[in-house]
Point group: C2
Chain length 106, copies 2
């Protein structure tokens, strides 16, 4: 089950998920992503490396830019997860540090 842990380490992150969603629509270079998502440059760069290492995305060079893109498996996965998130949105609560007021006991 170690692989699942690594998987989540890479995939399960708000910013990285936003990146994947953007790239699902259109391949983009880092600079474009940065503008669209309004993430600080080095932060974005770290996230891209993370996604890249785990093969969620690919790069190709184009002059001094690097164009990032998702593959089909990633597209499917991201869409599936997005579907679930949308459907369960109303139930989702911050975990671990559950907001005390909301504690809906069983």
């Amino acid at each position: 089950m170690e692989a699942a842990d690594l998987f989540f380490g890479a995939f399960a992150n708000k910013n990285r998920f936003r990146i994947l969603n953007k790239l699902n629509k259109k391949s983009l270079c880092a600079g474009e992503l940065q503008k669209k998502l309004n993430i600080e440059q080095t932060h974005l760069s770290h996230d891209l490396r993370c996604l890249l290492n785990c093969k969620f995305i690919n790069v190709r060079k184009d002059g001094k830019k690097r164009i990032y893109s998702t593959n089909n498996d990633t597209k499917e996965l991201v869409d599936e997860v997005s579907k679930h998130v949308k459907k369960y949105e109303k139930y989702l609560e911050r975990c671990g540090v559950l907001e005390k007021e909301k504690n809906g006991r069983v």
Copy 2:
């Protein structure tokens, strides 16, 4: 995109993923899960509450036990993710704190 963050907070966790996989096969009470997964009692309890809050799982009472189960949406999602994890296993690397030795530069 806030919902995605909450979603990952609950779903994206090694132990909780193990729990979901077990429950996908068979509804179980906390005690049984504890034995099968070898997780410390209060730890498991926290994780169950988390999954419960976000409606990944359901409970019903049976005497002094509580029987946990997954729903169909969760089953599908967990299976989809498991499939991806299996396929990409060989690429997965710990993120954020990337092991220095492994640094496969682009």
